[in-house]
């Protein structure tokens, strides 16, 4: 019996390319909206359990019904028998859409010159037609936080959905001012500064951060007092954090830096999210006590120290979650954001567990970013960011069969798939000599 099953399984695998082809060769080449009924699936809602033999109705960009035996009406029916519906995954830290080819500076738009440039807008530089966007969304990642890099306050990050023709159409309703917390760590192998120099620079940078912060405070006080202010976009943007209009996304990784950052934000009455947090496991208790939510990753990463256990990065999210930290995941990637589900799987296998890992790429980031009313689970009333898969999307063998973003049905095609179609059986093949 087992043998027969295996044979069937092998056959199915062998036919998989054809299934994919059938998908891509399908009847549409661009995303289209409409009324869709995802019929008879196992629906993994994330927040309300897993529902078998359940259908999901998508209308006007939203999930309008979830239940058994929904009537299709005039909706386009998509048979999901034997398949699984999940909410679209959210990657909480990427440079997707802000770069085309990372070694070609002309195409790299995520890092502006200057140390204090909080007014640099990630949303401005999102290229809706970046090749990597099409490559990413067929993996089931429907939403990403695009984060600028650079100096102390490098810019303002923006959440985007991976469908739309203008940045505004893609905007997911969350922005945050980014801060690269002064670091006591090395930037990489080429960073050959002495320990002393690193320490000095970090201290100097900390002082600068304090000064800038005071300036922003003064700016806000003057503004609130009705004073006429000169055009000062940097302070204008920073003061939004002080006024709690925007949260501060603090990029911080080394254990001592994390502790310093906790202290630094403690007496500031602002919304704070930590990002990176590579050594979070070392200070997980402190993090939990602070109540600051954490976006961490990449999970598939080397330990930060030679003496660390080999799986330090794999296990980091799990250890923080166990201590009581609210954890979301990020790939910190550009072209390979599509690997978010695999990062999540590694976090799951090394301590986070599957259920928490799913939350870390859906409802947790939605809650951390304050957009849980619209995203992060399969619930009536939420935006229709949905994926339909042949199994667990964290598993590599699983195929993603349908993707919906804001109710738009996304064609499962991109350049990678088109090249596959063209070259699997190239014609002419081998030319006779």
């Amino acid at each position: 019996m087992n043998h027969i099953l295996k044979t069937i399984y092998t056959l199915l695998l062998a036919l998989m390319p054809l299934v994919v082809l059938a998908q891509i060769d399908g009847d549409f080449v661009k995303p289209r909206s409409g009324k869709f009924l995802l019929q008879n699936a196992t629906v993994v809602t994330i927040t309300k359990g897993t529902l078998t033999n359940t259908s999901v109705l998508v209308e006007n960009g939203k999930i309008t019904q979830v239940g058994a035996n929904l009537s299709a009406g005039d909706a386009e029916v998509i048979d999901c028998t034997g398949m699984f519906v999940y909410p679209g995954m959210i990657d909480s830290g990427t440079r997707l859409g802000m770069v085309e080819v990372s070694s070609v500076p002309e195409t790299v738009d995520y890092a502006e010159i200057g140390n204090v440039t909080p007014n640099m807008q990630a949303l401005t530089t999102i290229n809706p037609n970046a090749e990597a966007i099409g490559v990413t969304r067929v993996s089931g990642v429907t939403t990403v936080l695009a984060v600028p890099t650079g100096g102390l306050f490098p810019g303002t990050a923006a959440l985007i959905n991976l469908n739309g023709y203008t940045p505004d159409q893609m905007y997911g309703g969350f922005k945050a001012v980014v801060m690269n917390f002064p670091s006591s760590g090395r930037r990489g192998r080429f960073d050959r500064r002495s320990d002393e120099d690193i320490k000095k620079e970090a201290e100097k940078s900390m002082k600068e951060a304090d000064e800038i912060w005071n300036n922003a405070k003064n700016y806000l006080e003057l503004k609130n007092s009705g004073a006429t202010l000169h055009y000062y976009p940097e302070m204008e943007h920073l003061s939004k954090v002080l006024a709690k209009e925007l949260p501060l996304l603090v990029q911080v990784n080394a254990a001592s830096d994390i502790q310093n950052a906790i202290q630094w934000v403690k007496d500031k009455d602002i919304r704070v999210i930590f990002s990176g947090v590579a050594e979070g496991w070392r200070v997980a208790e402190d993090l939990a006590k602070s109540g600051i939510p954490v976006i961490t990753g990449p999970v598939q990463d080397l330990p930060t120290r030679q003496s660390d256990r080999y799986d330090a990065a794999y296990a980091n999210a799990g250890k923080m979650a166990k201590a009581g930290v609210k954890v979301a995941l990020r790939t910190d990637e550009e072209e390979n954001v599509r690997n978010l589900p695999f990062h999540a799987a590694f976090a799951a296998a090394y301590g986070l567990g599957k259920e928490e890992a799913w939350k870390a790429v859906t409802i947790n980031p939605a809650e951390i970013m304050g957009i849980a009313d619209h995203y992060g689970s399969v619930e009536v009333g939420k935006r229709a960011n949905l994926i339909v898969a042949t199994g667990d999307p964290f598993e590599t063998r699983t195929q993603i069969m349908h993707v919906f973003i804001d109710g738009y049905r996304i064609p499962l095609s991109n350049r990678h798939i088109r090249l596959y179609q063209e070259f699997l059986e190239r014609s002419p093949g081998l030319k006779a000599n």
Partner: protein
């Protein structure tokens, strides 16, 4: 105890051959799902290893006295993973001083203390191909390493019975380093071809000069002086004589096709392409003429020559009959090659055996060691990994890794800190926050050669 056996064995004179110094273990692994790769899967099966060699595969085997038994019920046993492209355990990577540096050898810069070896073992990797970097058209000779963690002599982690291999590189890296960086040929892909053809022609002349000398020498009263010896040209001559396998860093279809033509013209048959992102475009040619391609599972767009890539590359190459392996070229990725191989199931729907072959028997073929390793077969060297969950599952966790029957990784028993060597000057341990860069070393050691492109730009993602 193991050490004792080894010492006793050594005293008994069990092999006075070159490998006598490296430890060989005996172990009985019971009740595993054995993924042989070449001969199907066998459930609830035992594998008996004696003195580093797989002796028996079957059911209800019993351990000879003194041989440890490991219960692997519910677990998976697969051959040690082989990475055909790595820079782990190398102190330097590039000798970027000339477009041809065939004379340098990576085995002179092997560092057995690098913790990356242990981390690779923790990902089930038992053999890595420690390669020269990609700065030169003809780089140095690579070393095939066996991950005998704890060895102090570099020679003990070199797989002495592996054939010689050499690194070649086409495209952006050599043209940037030499053409744009130093103002010498090659600046273009045309120049790369010229460097290769000129080099091989020079090697032919060199060989002739020596042949002439050698035959003259046997004549009585001959006083012909010998030609000047050149390690560089001798190595190129050895390639022409089929004594060395070329492993060529390449991306674009045109340059791959070019090297196939050059190889044909010079009668070179031992040729493997590395990275080969556009290999899918010339898959029939690669399949027909070469020993295949060793590729990334899904890396693309980090530089222009990999912009027109597809994650389906491995599947297309494989389905066109090319020997295909998945490699890491990264101290990070080397730790989860089983997962990288599994991506061929998402991108192309390969079977379990096809996917596993990409990190075992296929790279073994490309390194010329498939008669010794790369599958679980009686008579092969006992490089083995025990997994919790199927190795192609995203949730798989390697449990134990064996090289020559000796256990070098055990998730339950190993201490966290595996450093064997801590510099006395290291007062505070450095923290590497962008470990990503630590991982990618293909263009390491190049910055010293030219100032114009110095900085992060150089070392970031230039595989």
């Amino acid at each position: 105890m193991k050490k004792l056996i080894y010492i006793v064995a050594a005293f008994l004179g069990l092999g006075w051959n070159a490998q006598a110094q490296t430890p060989k273990g005996s172990v009985l692994i019971k009740n595993a799902t054995v993924l042989t790769v070449t001969q199907g899967n066998q459930e609830n099966t035992d594998v008996l290893v004696q003195d580093g060699i797989i002796k028996q595969i079957g059911k209800n085997l019993s351990a000879p006295s003194g041989v440890t038994t490991i219960d692997a019920s519910g677990k998976y046993l697969m051959p040690g993973i082989i990475d055909a492209h790595s820079h782990v355990a190398l102190d330097v990577v590039n000798e970027a001083s000339s477009p041809i540096t065939a004379e340098v050898r990576m085995k002179d810069v092997v560092n057995p203390f690098e913790v990356g070896i242990y981390r690779a073992l923790a990902g089930g990797v038992t053999i890595s191909h420690a390669m020269h970097g990609s700065a030169n058209v003809v780089g140095g000779q690579n070393a095939t390493l066996k991950h005998r963690w704890g060895a102090k002599d570099p020679a003990d982690i070199i797989m002495q019975d592996a054939p010689r291999t050499i690194k070649f590189a086409l495209g952006e890296n050599p043209t940037r380093v030499h053409g744009r960086g130093n103002g010498i040929q090659p600046r273009t892909r045309m120049g790369v071809e010229a460097v290769l053809r000129n080099g091989f022609n020079e090697a032919i002349q060199y060989k002739k000069a020596w042949d002439t000398y050698t035959s003259a020498k046997s004549q009585k009263g001959n006083t012909t002086p010998p030609p000047a010896y050149s390690e560089r040209l001798q190595t190129l001559a050895d390639i022409l004589d089929g004594k060395i396998i070329i492993h060529c860093h390449s991306y674009r279809a045109d340059e791959i096709y070019m090297l196939i033509n050059v190889a044909r013209d010079f009668g070179i048959k031992k040729l493997v392409f590395q990275h080969t992102n556009e290999g899918f475009k010339v898959a029939p040619e690669i399949a027909e003429y070469t020993m295949g391609a060793s590729v990334f599972a899904d890396w693309w767009a980090y530089k222009f020559e990999v912009y027109y890539s597809t994650a389906f590359n491995a599947a297309i190459l494989h389905r066109n009959g090319a020997i295909t392996s998945i490699n890491s070229d990264s101290a990070e990725l080397i730790r989860h090659l089983y997962h990288e191989a599994a991506k061929t199931q998402r991108y192309g729907g390969l079977t379990d055996d096809e996917a596993l072959a990409m990190i075992t028997i296929n790279p073994a073929k490309q390194l010329g060691i498939d008669d010794k390793v790369g599958s679980i077969e009686v008579g092969k060297q006992a490089d083995l990994v025990i997994f919790e969950e199927h190795p192609l599952s995203s949730y798989a966790v390697p449990q134990m890794t064996f090289v020559d029957g000796v256990k070098y990784f055990d998730i339950q028993e190993d201490k966290d800190d595996q450093r064997q060597l801590v510099a006395a000057t290291e007062m505070v341990e450095p923290i590497f926050l962008r470990a990503d860069e630590e991982a990618h070393r293909c263009m390491q050691d190049v910055d010293a050669y030219f100032e114009a492109f110095q900085g992060a730009f150089l070392e970031e993602h230039h595989h």
